[in-house]
Structure formats: structure tokens, C-alpha cells
């Protein structure tokens, strides 16, 4: 019975105009979430390394991992100037286009299923986050998805141009960094397990054209259309970085954490959708189930790597979209729709209200867990009551109609979790993009980095009359500082200050004794990075985590990697306002 409900709507019943409008909406929403205010948060150290590699034509920034991003940003910086916004532009564009690639899998998902999958991808907080990061992760994932989708289209239509598209996608993916190799490995293993008939034969017949296009594209993309020859070395080294990313028990982000905290819609719908296809008779669609399974396994052995959660998110979104679309279509296909629809709405509202009640009380519990155990216990009790009542409502609905019961549950939770997910997407992408309390944020740059630049520009304007020409001596060598000071033309980098320092402005790490400066300088510190401020008590940590997830309430992050901006006292006395703004 369930399988019957879970099959896609036959294409003959689909309204093409609605579908097109839906894809347009997906594109617009995807772009609206990803593109605005790309430069709102300062670049993280990893992003700064990638950006500096693009600015310096690799140079000493050999830790960069994406030669495609390097080459593209090299050209974009030349055209538009080097800034945080421009550094993130290409990943944002690629991330905006990624949800549309679900269209390539219509043969597996159905047209409504593909559209639903596209919507889920567009609203996925994880994808929003990586789309707004100046790294090659989303480029690699998008390249892999496009390559597989294009191969799928080529198989479906027999059109040669899709082979070319697949080759180009593979070439771009090779140049994009380690994430692409993960994507390819997952899909290759899934294909081996799924054994789709004719695919291997088809691939063998088109191997020559595919590889030729891929190799040429990879060569051009890696070297930034030959403008950044050193990018080929970056592409080569990214393979080694990818290999070194395998390991068990590493510190860092786990895929299940991401799914629980950020992707509950995908977790529920995707897992259910994967189970349905794995157990179903359709071998073509079963391949996507294997894709999910392999992605989940691979994410376990690549824990801590930024591509690991995405290996699960993508296939879950596709299969979740398929399932959701099928279920909704099944609901809509009820013969006595108007009446059924009213009942469904009423039940959904009831369940939804109880769901909201559940969330609120869960939040209350999180708020009071450590400070007021009695109140926390009461909240927990209310949570239990919400669950019982919701179950009761559903049971009542079940007595009237099975479809009514699960339909109301489905609609309510889709709306609630969808709203939750949308909030998380906005939070990860915009409001808390650089907050170390977010699981996705491995390295958080403090707003102090921008304040430091503002202060330096102010000092320079007062001393030199221009914002970037003051002489600065920097003790240190971090990528963050190099990126922050990229516009300053007279920066001297030293490992240690000399016996006598005469530079008008000096930056030193905070906490280190600076005897050479003595009383001749006045200083103020700025934090460059942020780190979480966890409690030591496990129970409190759980409460804190819940409080943060539900209420965005947690101890403020701590500043670290502080630097002190020193200004020579005679200049400070001569009109540079002190303390600095």
C-alpha cells in the first residue's frame, strides 16, 4: 500500500506550466538566499588562503585546494577588485545553480519529485552555508552532480551534447578541489552496487569523447585559462588532500550532527524515501538509494571534512523530494477532495499547534535546564503532553481515514520543519555566518578583523593623508592578516621585532611581551578569530546545545588570536585620536 502511495505521479498528469513556474521559483529563492550580502562576514582563515592564492597567483599560498576557484577569482579580482564579496561570488553562483540540477534526474524522480527535490536543495541550510563560503566545496559537489546528471540525460535522450556537458562538468570538478573526488567515489560505488543495465556499456561507448573533453576542461580550468599555470599543481595536490581526509574518529563535523540540527526535513523525508526505493522493484531508482547508503558510509570515514555531510544531504534531498511529491500528489488525488481537504487542514493545524507547543516547551526546558531544574522538569512534562496529544489527534484521524492521519502529520511537520529549516538556512547564511557556535563553522573570523582594518585606515589617513600608505610592521604571518592588509602598500612582515623599532605602526600578537616597543608606543587589541565558549559539564553542554539550536541563546564566543595595534606615541599625540575608534 505504501509503495503505491510512494510512486511518482505519471508525467502525463503533470501540468508543464506549473512545473516551469515551480522551477523559476526554485531558482529565484535559491538566488535570493545565497547571493545577497556575500561580504557581510569576514573571510575565515581557510577562505583567506584561497583568496590570497588567487591574488598572488598561488605564490606562497600553496595550501589552497581549489584551482578552479583560484583561477576564476584571479580574473574576478582583476575585474572587480579583491574583496570578500568577490571572493565568494563564484561559489554563490554555483550554489544557486545546484538546486536546478535536480531537473536532470526527472527520469528517476518524476517531474514533481524533481521539483520538490530542487526546492529542498534550495532551502538546505548546509548547502546555503557552503554556497556562501569562498572554498571549492560547493564547486566540487555541483560538478559531480552535474556530471552524473548529464550522463543520466545522455543515457535518457541519446543526445551527444549531454556527453560534452558531462565531460565539462568532470573537468571543472577535477579542478574544484577534494569534494569532487568524494562525489565521484560515491557515485561510482553506487553505480557498481546498483548495476544499472546498459550504463556501463553506454559509458564504454562514449569513453573517448567524455575523457577528451574532461581532460581539456580540467587543464584549462586548473590553470585559469592558462593565466595561472601554478593552478595545475594545486589541482594535483588536492587529490592528496582528499586522500589524507580519510580517517575514523577525527575531530570535527559529523554528518549525523548536521542532519539532526540543520536538516530535519531531509532526515525524515530522505531516509524514508531511501528506504522505499531500496526495497522497491524499480532498479533505476534503487541506484539512488545505493547512492544514499554509500554517501552515508563515506561520510563516516571522512568525518571532519567539509564535504562529508554533503555526501548524504544531496541524495537525501533528491529522494526526499521524490517521496514528498508522491505523498502530496497522493493526497491531492483523493476523490472527495474538498471535504477531505478541509479535514486535512483542520487536523494539520491541530497537529501543527501541538508541534509548536512542543518546540516552545523544549526551548523552555533548554533555557532552564541548568538554572532551574524544577521549571525545566515542568517544561519537559509539557513536551511529553504535546507528544501524547498529537498522537491522540493522529489516532483520532486514523479512525476516520488512514490517509487523513498521516497526511495531516506530513503537512504539519513539513510546514514546521520547513520553517525551522528556512530559519536555519538564513541563520547559517546570513545572521550567524561567522559564529563559532554553529556546527558548520570550523574557523570563525571575528568582526575585530574588520575593526582592525578600519582603525589602520583611520590612522593612515591621519598620518599619511591616504588610507593605505602608512608604514606598518607586522610581527606574524597569518593568512587572515595578509588578506586583511592586502590593500596596504607598505607592510613589512617580520618573525621577530628588531632591537630598535621606528615604524609608525606595529602589529604584534597579543600576550607576547614586546620589550622592544617599550613606552614609545600606545596600543589597543583586536581579536582576529572566535572560538566557542563551552561549559565543562556534559549535562550543561547538552542544554546549551539545545538552547542554541532552538533559541539561539548561548554563551558568547571567546576572542582568540588577538593582535595589538601599536601606534608610535609621537604620532598618537600629534592628532591621532586615542583610543582608536
Amino acid at each position: 500500500m505504501i509503495r503505491g502511495w510512494c510512486e511518482p505521479v505519471p508525467d502525463s498528469n503533470v501540468d508543464a506550466r506549473l512545473i516551469r513556474a515551480g522551477w523559476l521559483a526554485v531558482a529565484v529563492v535559491s538566488a535570493l538566499i545565497r547571493l545577497p550580502a556575500l561580504g557581510a562576514a569576514p573571510l575565515s582563515p581557510g577562505e583567506a588562503t584561497e583568496a590570497l592564492a588567487a591574488l598572488d597567483n598561488v605564490g606562497r599560498w600553496t595550501a589552497a585546494q581549489s584551482s578552479l576557484l583560484l583561477g576564476a577569482n584571479h580574473m574576478l579580482f582583476w575585474l572587480l577588485g579583491a574583496s570578500d564579496t568577490v571572493a565568494r561570488l563564484l561559489p554563490a553562483l554555483a550554489g544557486s545553480g545546484l538546486p536546478l540540477m535536480a531537473w536532470l534526474f526527472q527520469r528517476h524522480l518524476g517531474r514533481w519529485g524533481a521539483l520538490a527535490a530542487g526546492a529542498l536543495l534550495a532551502l538546505s541550510p548546509s548547502l546555503v552555508f557552503v554556497s556562501r563560503s569562498a572554498t571549492g566545496t560547493v564547486l566540487g559537489i555541483a560538478g559531480g552532480l552535474l556530471a552524473v546528471g548529464a550522463l543520466e540525460k545522455a543515457d535518457a535522450t541519446g543526445e551527444r551534447r549531454w556527453t560534452w556537458v558531462a565531460g565539462i562538468a568532470m573537468g571543472l570538478g577535477v579542478a574544484s578541489g577534494p569534494a569532487f573526488w568524494s562525489a565521484m567515489l560515491v557515485m561510482a560505488l553506487a553505480a557498481m552496487l546498483g548495476r544499472p543495465t546498459g550504463l556501463r556499456r553506454w559509458l564504454a561507448s562514449r569513453c573517448g569523447a567524455l575523457w577528451r573533453v574532461a581532460v581539456i576542461t580540467a587543464g584549462l580550468a586548473s590553470t585559469g585559462l592558462l593565466l595561472v599555470p601554478g593552478g595545475l599543481g594545486v589541482a594535483a595536490d588536492s587529490l592528496v588532500v582528499w586522500i589524507n581526509g580519510f580517517g575514523l574518529g577525527r575531530q570535527g563535523l559529523w554528518a549525523w550532527q548536521v542532519l539532526l540540527v540543520y536538516e530535519p526535513v531531509l532526515l525524515l523525508s530522505g531516509v524514508a524515501g531511501a528506504a522505499v526505493v531500496l526495497l522497491g522493484p524499480n532498479s533505476r531508482v534503487r541506484l539512488m538509494g545505493f547512492w544514499t547508503l554509500v554517501g552515508a558510509l563515506l561520510s563516516l570515514v571522512r568525518s571532519g571534512q567539509p564535504d562529508a555531510p554533503l555526501l548524504v544531504v544531496i541524495p537525501l534531498a533528491l529522494l526526499g523530494g521524490r517521496l514528498v511529491a508522491a505523498l502530496l500528489a497522493s493526497l491531492l488525488a483523493q476523490p472527495a477532495w474538498p471535504g477531505f481537504g478541509r479535514s486535512l487542514a483542520a487536523m494539520s493545524v491541530a497537529v501543527g499547534v501541538l508541534g509548536v507547543h512542543l518546540f516552545v516547551n523544549l526551548g523552555q526546558y533548554a533555557r532552564h535546564a541548568s538554572s532551574n531544574p524544577d521549571s525545566a522538569s515542568a517544561s519537559l512534562l509539557l513536551v511529553g503532553i504535546s507528544i501524547i496529544l498529537a498522537t491522540g489527534v493522529c489516532a483520532l484521524a486514523w479512525t476516520y481515514s488512514h490517509r487523513l492521519a498521516w497526511g495531516s502529520l506530513l503537512v504539519a511537520w513539513l510546514v514546521l520543519l520547513g520553517a525551522y529549516g528556512l530559519g536555519k538556512a538564513w541563520e547559517l547564511g546570513h545572521t550567524h555566518r561567522s559564529d563559532p557556535r554553529q556546527l558548520w563553522v570550523a574557523e570563525a573570523t571575528s568582526p575585530g578583523a574588520r575593526l582592525l582594518v578600519d582603525a589602520l585606515e583611520s590612522v593612515s589617513s591621519r598620518i599619511q593623508g591616504t588610507p593605505h600608505e602608512v608604514q606598518v610592521t607586522v610581527q606574524g604571518d597569518s593568512a587572515l592578516l595578509h588578506w586583511a592588509l592586502r590593500d596596504f602598500t607598505r607592510v613589512t612582515w617580520v618573525e621577530q621585532l628588531q632591537a630598535v623599532v621606528t615604524s609608525p605602526v606595529v602589529l604584534t600578537p597579543a600576550g607576547e611581551a614586546s620589550p622592544t616597543l617599550g613606552d614609545g608606543y600606545l596600543g589597543v587589541d583586536f581579536g582576529l578569530q572566535l572560538e566557542p565558549n563551552p561549559s565543562t559539564d556534559v549535562a550543561s553542554r547538552t542544554g546549551e546545545t539545545l538552547r542554541w539550536v532552538l533559541l539561539r541563546d548561548a554563551p558568547l564566543p571567546l576572542q582568540r588570536d588577538k593582535v595589538v595595534l601599536w601606534v608610535r606615541q609621537d604620532l598618537a599625540s600629534a592628532g591621532v585620536s586615542w583610543p582608536l575608534p
Partner: protein
């Protein structure tokens, strides 16, 4: 890392590189019976290293594992493309071939594994990277491991790139990086690979020669052919010269004192003294004498200071210096395999009469396959980068092989044979060329500018004239302006040589040679007994084999003697002219004055020189006889063409020449005669001329030429001995038995030398070449380990400058960190001048001894020093080291038992 794991990884890496290149090797060597399988490992290592180096030099790749994997992926793609290209000439299928030849494949893999394991075991009992020039070799490897790009930094002259043929070091550093093996272990594993690769190359060549001769009769693989191959491998890589056997005789006093005096090999030209125990004789380094069997004396009879080096592969492996001439061995054998492949190719074409040159050249390239020609250029050109001396010789052999094969397969008899008048013109032009060289050489003798650019127009002018005359003769015959076969081959040869040079342009741009022209060898002909000690086993086998070819009755002795006579005349004229012109230069005049002063005047010197030359002509005569025989005997073999050419108008390509699995019986004797000819020329040349270098003698010329001649003679002898043993009559007994006895005598050397080198080793075996330092130099050992573990990149260090073969520059050698100045003498050899080293040595002394900090600081900044080492060697070299200044100003980042490392903080380069 555990030694066994390291060795296993190294073996795996070579297998991996060989396997990815195997499809390409399979197609490239389609004429060889074994399809180049025995040479595929060397091919794989060479191609991957080439791409890795080239793309690194162009800034496209970095010196990282990712760069190596990318290069390997590109080679794999190339191999797949070459293999899958549609080619009617080679329909063979790789899996099918492997299935049909699995015994051979197994034999090759077993031989490789056993020889690799054997030499790992030998090195594990003699791993120390100390003495002779091993520190220099290690320094190069470590420096390449640290360099981010190519060309790599020179570890012993900071701020400069290596000015040496360093390709072999790149190969070993690349494999070290790929396997994660430390440089001091990679050194010994690299030696084991060199040994195994040379054994495999010798095996493969002789096996192919023998199998090509037999054709497709019998089973694809027979024990006899494998045995012949094994013999080839042993003769190339394992067997030594007869000096080892003579050492035993001398130690046991089994021959009279007169014999030893007559033989006049240093250290054993004294009366033997039997002691107990009699082994090892004369101390631990008796085995060194095998590389110094030639004994040059001045006119007054005194031994010269620098004796010619007569080294051979087994000596190199026993000594354990990872030098270019040794590293090039597997690739020299690869080059010989390429030459043999061309000999076995069918060059049948339509008649070239009436066809323009460019069309003829294009057809020639098309028969060879343009892609294959490109690969030939890369493989042969690599020899210049590995060991420059080998490149022109192997190029000549490859081109010579192609020339003989093209003439053999020419479409019409005698249509393109040069007329006798043209030969006379050639001789005259050759003399003109020689005079031109001499005139240029006169400048060189004065130590002036580089000679190669000057020589180029001088040699090309007569060649161009010769080509014009060839075309003119063709015009007279056919009414068309065209070069004919000889001209086409010359143009193709020049093209191949240029392509081989162009493929390695980044190397040539940064390379400065110490070579500075040619000088005559007037007073030191090689004595025949010493020559026989060196090449005895080969000489007997080859002479009997040559003699055995005589009864064929078709040798053209007039051509052989004519060419040989012309060659002798040219050499004598060259010596006379060079000598006369040399007498005009101040340097030579000083030498002449010294020599004549020792013997009482110029008249006496001339008389003694003539007497010496006339009483010691035997080596030259023997070699000239071998040259004449090789030319005379190959003449009819070359004229004896394959099956009749296709009908006029039919293009031979569509007919399809024979593939490896159905070989027509082809005589490879001509190819072997070509090798004999080349070896004879190589050993004849130092009898009359040598290359001027910093050593001011023929030491280096004999060294390089004899080394290559050994390889050629060993391969030839392996083939010849197999042929002799299959014949009947006295030839079989004399050649076979005699050769076997002499080979057995030659095996005395490696067995006893290895036993000596590995004897008395206390403690456990290890492949780590610096493990010994833990006990003998604990302070330096700790400091080196700290630097290896804690310092990344290539910051400069300051340490004591060392003389050649000394302990100086030991930190730099073991870490790869560049130092201000290492072995000054070697830098002079590599760069041909003393200017820069001469400036730096006093500066290093100042930095250590001066008490004036600003002066020291200025020098530290000038050379961009980051780490200063103060240890026992610095104190013993510079006396009272003003260490107080370092302690006051710099941070002591390491303090061991007697060694302190200070750090000087510099500006970070943006």
C-alpha cells in the same frame, strides 16, 4: 619506518610506474620479442619523472606527492592513448601477449625481485653514507626533496640552482616522496633499484637479441634464451674485470714478481708478500684498485698524479656512490633497446627517386610512427640529463641502427649508395672540419668562451656542403634534386638529436659545463695487458665470434680497411695538429717545459714519445682490427635485405611488416657488430684525444668512455657467447669454454669485494644511511635529526665549509638545507669557475670568527642565513669561535651535546 616496509614500498612504486607505462612500452617496442617488458620499469620511471620535472620546471606542478600522481596520471593517459591508437601494423593484444608469455613475465619479475632484494641486503650491511662522494649524492637528493619547484636549489651554494646533470637524483627523490621513505633510506633503496634495473636491462637486451635471431621457431620462451639473458645481466651488472682474480693470485704469490712488474698495475706491481691470513690483501680498500688498472706514467717513468679511471658497473655498485654514470645505466640499456627496435623494424618504402626531401623525411617518420619518434627523443634526450657523455654515443648508435636498417630495406640495389668520389670528398671535408675544430680549439686551449656554439657552425658547414653534393649526384642520376637515403638519414638524425635536446631545454638553460675543448693524448697510450685486464672476458668471446663469422666469405675487407685506415689517419693528424697548436699556448708551454725538463730537453722528449707510441701500439691496433672487422663483416649483412620489396607503387605500410609474434628470421649480427664498433671507437678515442676539464688529463674521458664501452661489450658478449655455445667445433670450445673461464675469473671481483665491504659489521643491518652517526657523531646526528623534524622549506644554514670528500657541509648534506658554501672544489668542477666559491669562503670564516656583530649581521643578511650551526667541526675548522656573539643576539633553538643551532630571524618574503 621499518626497513622491510620501506623496501616493499619502493618495489611497489617501481612496479606501479612500470605498469602504467607498460601499454605504451608494449606498442613502442613492438619489434622486440619481449615487447620491451624487461625495459618497462625503466621506461615508467623515466617518463613519469620527465613529466614531473618538466611540468615542475614550467611552474605547472609543485614538488609534491600530488604533482607526482598527476604526472603518473598523465603518463597513464598517454599510455592508454598510444595503446588504443588504431594501428594495422600492430594488431597484437596486450592481455593475450601476457597470457602467451606468462613464463617470461614471471622470469622477469622473479629476476627483478631477487636482484632488488639481494642488493637491499648488501646495502643493509653497508649502508653508511660517508666517504668518497656519497655526501654529495645525498645532498642532491635531500635538496630536491625540499625544493618546492625545479630547478632544485644547490645545497652547497645557496641562492643558486644545481648545475649538474641531476635527473637521476630527481628520479630517486621522486620515488622517496611517493613512498614516504626518508632520504637517507631512499639513498640505499635507490642503489638497489639501480642494480636490479641494470640486471634487468642487460637480461632483456640479450634475451631479445637471441630471440630475434632465432625467430619464431620453438616455444615462445626457452630456457636457453632465458639463460642467455641471465648471462647478459650478469656480465653487465655483476661481473667485474680481471683485477679481482689477479688480486687473489698476487696475495697467494702464484705468479713471479716479473709478471707483476711487467703488468704494472699500481699496488700489485710490487713483489707479492704472502701473509697470514692472506685475505683481504693490502688493507680494506683493495677493491678500489679494480677501477685503476690503467697506469699512466710520465716520460721519465714516474706515475702521474691522476690516473685514468677504468670503472665498471659492478665497481660502482660496490662503491655505492650514486653518481650519474651509474644512475644512467638502466636508461642506457633502454636506449640500446630502442636502437635494437629500430634495427628490427621494416623500413620498406617506395623508391625515393623523384620524391622531394620533405616527403621522404615524412615517410621515414611515418614508418617509425611520429609518436614513437617523439618518445625516442624523450628517452634518448634523457641521457644528456642523466649523464651527458652517454647522449651523443647512444644517439649515434640509435641513428646508426636505423641507418643500417634503412639501407638494408632500401627499394633498389645500390641506387642510393654514395659514389666513391663522394667518400673522398667526405674525407677531405672531414679533414677541413678537423682543422676548423683545431682552430677553434686554439681559443679553447686559452680557456676562453664556450666551445659548443663555436663548433656548431664549423661542423654544420661541411655537413651542409656534403648534403648539397649528395643532392647534386642524385640530380645527375635521376634528374631530380634530392638527397637520397644517406642525406635523409642525416637530416633525420640531426632532427632526432635536436628533438632530444629541445625536450630538455629547461636543463640546458641552467647548465654550465666544465668541459672546455679537446686536447691531444701524446704520451700515454694504454698498454695492452692493462686493457686486457679491463676487458679480457669480452675480448676473447668477441674475437672468437668475429673469427667465426669470417667463413661466411662475404666480408668486404676493402671497405673495412679503407675506413679504418682513414680513421687512424684522421686521429694521427688530429693529435699532431692539436699538439702543434697547443704548443703555442702559455699553459701548454708550461707543461711542455716541465715534461721536457724532466727528460733533458725537447729532442729527448720527442724521441721518448715516439718510442713509447711505437712500442705500445697494440691496444690501438687491436681496436682498429675490431673496427675493421665490424665494418667488413656487417657490410654483406646489411646488403642482405629482407624479403623482396613490394611492387612499385604499392605502399609498404599497407602490406604490414611482421609482428613480434611471427618474426621472420632476422640476423641481428649486424646490430651486434654496430655495438662492437661503437665500443671500439669509444675505447680508441682516449688513445689519441681527451676532453679538457679541471682534471687536466685523460682521467675523466677514459672513465666515461670505458664505462659505456663496458655495457656495449657486455651485451655483445652475451649474445656472442650464446651463439658460440650453439655452434660446433673448436669455436665452441675456445670461445665458449674460454669465455666461461674468463667470466668466472671476472666474478671473483664482485664476490670478494662485497664480502669485504660487508664484513665486520657490528650491530643490526639497516637501510638508514645515517644510522651509524648515532654512535660515531652523536652531536651532529642529534642536530641533523632536529632539523629534519622541525624545519620545513629551504631556509639557509651556516656551517663549516669543507674540502672535497671531507666531513664539511655535513648538516646540509643530510638535511638538504642549503648552506652558504659546501665543498668548494666540487662547485668549481660543476660550474667551471672559482669566482663565487672564492668569495664565500672568507665570508663564512668571518661570520664565525669575527667579534664585530654589525659585520656578522651584514653577512648574515647578505646570504639570508636563518640557522647558524656551531659544533665540533666549526670549532676545529675556525679555531676559537666567537660564540658569545651568537648567544647574545640569536635564539638557541637546539642545544645538544656539543652542537648548538641558533636562529636568526629575518624578514618574511611577501
Amino acid at each position: 619506518m621499518n626497513d622491510i616496509l620501506a623496501a616493499a614500498l619502493w618495489w611497489l612504486a617501481i612496479q606501479f610506474l612500470g605498469l602504467i607505462a607498460w601499454p605504451l612500452t608494449f606498442r613502442l617496442f613492438r619489434r622486440l620479442p619481449d615487447r620491451g617488458y624487461a625495459l618497462s620499469k625503466a621506461m615508467g620511471v623515466l617518463l613519469v619523472t620527465y613529466l614531473f620535472w618538466l611540468l615542475g620546471s614550467l611552474g605547472l606542478l609543485r614538488n609534491t606527492v600530488g604533482g607526482i600522481l598527476m604526472s603518473a596520471a598523465l603518463v597513464a593517459l598517454l599510455a592508454a592513448w598510444v595503446y588504443r591508437r588504431p594501428c594495422t601494423r600492430d594488431p597484437a593484444d596486450l592481455p593475450g601477449w601476457v597470457a602467451a608469455h606468462r613464463r617470461y613475465v614471471l622470469a622477469v619479475e622473479l629476476l627483478f625481485a631477487l636482484s632488488f632484494a639481494l642488493w637491499c641486503l648488501v646495502r643493509a650491511h653497508n649502508p653508511e653514507i660517508t666517504g668518497t662522494e656519497k655526501p654529495m649524492d645525498l645532498a642532491f637528493i635531500q635538496a630536491i626533496l625540499r625544493s618546492e619547484t625545479f630547478p632544485p636549489v644547490d645545497p652547497w651554494l645557496s641562492g643558486h640552482a644545481i648545475s649538474y646533470y641531476y635527473f637521476g637524483y630527481v628520479m630517486h627523490a621522486m620515488m622517496a616522496k611517493l613512498t614516504g621513505v626518508p632520504g637517507t633510506v631512499a639513498f640505499n633503496l635507490g642503489l638497489a633499484w639501480q642494480f636490479a634495473g641494470t640486471v634487468l636491462g642487460g637480461f632483456g637486451l640479450v634475451y631479445n637479441l637471441v630471440s630475434a635471431e632465432v625467430g619464431s621457431r620453438g616455444k615462445p620462451v626457452t630456457l636457453g634464451r632465458v639463460g642467455a639473458g641471465l648471462l647478459g645481466g650478469v656480465m653487465v651488472a655483476v661481473m667485474g674485470n680481471l683485477e679481482g682474480f689477479l688480486e687473489v693470485l698476487h696475495a697467494r704469490a702464484w705468479l713471479p714478481t716479473g709478471f707483476w712488474r711487467w703488468l704494472d698495475i699500481e699496488e700489485i706491481n710490487l713483489a707479492p708478500v704472502v701473509s697470514s691470513p692472506w685475505w683481504p690483501p693490502r688493507g680494506g680498500w683493495w677493491w678500489w684498485r679494480a677501477s685503476r688498472v690503467l697506469h699512466d706514467r710520465g716520460l721519465s717513468g714516474e706515475s702521474l698524479g691522476l690516473q685514468p679511471i677504468a670503472e665498471f658497473p659492478a665497481f660502482s655498485f660496490v662503491l655505492g656512490d650514486m653518481h650519474p654514470h651509474m644512475m644512467a645505466l638502466p636508461y642506457v640499456l633502454l636506449g640500446l633497446g630502442l636502437a635494437l627496435n629500430w634495427w628490427l623494424t621494416s623500413w620498406q618504402r617506395e623508391s625515393t627517386v623523384g620524391r622531394p626531401l620533405w616527403a621522404s623525411i615524412r615517410e621515414l617518420v611515418s614508418v617509425a610512427d611520429p609518436v614513437h619518434v617523439g618518445l625516442y627523443a624523450v628517452c634518448l634526450g634523457a641521457l644528456a640529463f642523466l649523464n651527458t657523455w652517454d647522449f651523443p654515443s647512444l644517439l649515434a648508435i640509435a641513428v646508426g641502427s636505423m641507418t643500417l636498417a634503412v639501407i638494408r630495406d632500401r627499394p633498389a640495389p645500390a641506387a642510393n649508395t654514395p659514389a666513391s668520389g663522394l667518400v673522398a670528398e667526405t674525407a677531405l671535408l672531414g679533414a677541413v672540419t678537423l682543422v676548423s675544430i683545431v682552430l677553434v680549439g686554439r681559443r679553447l686551449l686559452g680557456g676562453e668562451s664556450a666551445w659548443l656554439p663555436a663548433l656548431a657552425p664549423v661542423t654544420l658547414t661541411p655537413a651542409t656542403w656534403w648534403l648539397f653534393r649528395l643532392a647534386q649526384q642524385q640530380k645527375e642520376r635521376s634528374g631530380q634534386w634530392q638527397l637520397g637515403v644517406m642525406g635523409e638519414l642525416l637530416v633525420a638524425a640531426v632532427g632526432l638529436g635536436l628533438a632530444g635536446i629541445l625536450a630538455y631545454v629547461p636543463f640546458y638553460l641552467g647548465f654550465r659545463s666544465q668541459a672546455a675543448g679537446l686536447l691531444p693524448n701524446v704520451i700515454n697510450p694504454t698498454r695492452l695487458p692493462q686493457f686486457v685486464v679491463m676487458f679480457g672476458p669480452f675480448l676473447l668471446v668477441l674475437l672468437v665470434w668475429l673469427f667465426g663469422l669470417l667463413p661466411t666469405g662475404r666480408a668486404n675487407w676493402s671497405v673495412g680497411l679503407c675506413i679504418t685506415g682513414g680513421l687512424l689517419l684522421a686521429l694521427v693528424v688530429a693529435v699532431a695538429l692539436f699538439g702543434a697548436l697547443a704548443a703555442l699556448t702559455p699553459t701548454a708551454q708550461g707543461w711542455i717545459a716541465q715534461v721536457t725538463g724532466d727528460v733533458g730537453g725537447l729532442d729527448s722528449a720527442v724521441r721518448l714519445t715516439l718510442i713509447r707510441r711505437l712500442t705500445n701500439p697494440w691496444t690501438a691496433l687491436l681496436l682498429l682490427a675490431m673496427i675493421a672487422s665490424a665494418i667488413a663483416l656487417s657490410y654483406p649483412l646489411v646488403l642482405n635485405r629482407r624479403s623482396a620489396p613490394a611492387e612499385a607503387g604499392q605502399w609498404a605500410r599497407t602490406v604490414g611488416p611482421p609482428v613480434a609474434s611471427t618474426l621472420e628470421p632476422v640476423s641481428v649480427a649486424s646490430f651486434v657488430l654496430l655495438l662492437v664498433l661503437a665500443a671500439s671507437l669509444l675505447t680508441l678515442a682516449p688513445e689519441f684525444v681527451y676532453l679538457k676539464d679541471v682534471f687536466q688529463g685523460r682521467m675523466n674521458t677514459v672513465f666515461k668512455f670505458y664505462y659505456l664501452a663496458w655495457v656495449l661489450l657486455a651485451v655483445s658478449s652475451g649474445y656472442a657467447l650464446h651463439g658460440l655455445l650453439r655452434r660446433a667445433g673448436w669455436v665452441r670450445w675456445v670461445g665458449g669454454l674460454g669465455g666461461a673461464l674468463l667470466i668466472a675469473a671476472g666474478l671473483f671481483y664482485p664476490v670478494l669485494a662485497v664480502a669485504t665491504r660487508t664484513a665486520g659489521r657490528g650491530g643490526s643491518a639497516t637501510l638508514d644511511g645515517m644510522a651509524y652517526m648515532e654512535n660515531s657523531q652523536p652531536a651532529d646526528y642529534a642536530a641533523i635529526r632536529w632539523l629534519q623534524e622541525n624545519v620545513e622549506g629551504t631556509p639557509l644554514i651556516l656551517e663549516a665549509v669543507g674540502g672535497q670528500y671531507s666531513w664539511g657541509a655535513r648538516i646540509s648534506a643530510h638535511t638538504g638545507l642549503p648552506t652558504v658554501l659546501g665543498w668548494a672544489g666540487h662547485e668549481q668542477q660543476w660550474r667551471g669557475d672559482t669566482h663565487e666559491p672564492g668569495l664565500r669562503e672568507p665570508d663564512v670564516r668571518t661570520m664565525y670568527t669575527s667579534r664585530v656583530w654589525p659585520e656578522v649581521q651584514a653577512l648574515l643578511e647578505k646570504y639570508q642565513v636563518e640557522y647558524v650551526v656551531v659544533g665540533p667541526l666549526e670549532i676545529s675548522t675556525y679555531g676559537q669561535v666567537a660564540a658569545a656573539k651568537f648567544e647574545r643576539v640569536l635564539d638557541a633553538v637546539f642545544q645538544g651535546d656539543g652542537v648548538v643551532i641558533y636562529r636568526w630571524h629575518r624578514l618574511i618574503q611577501p
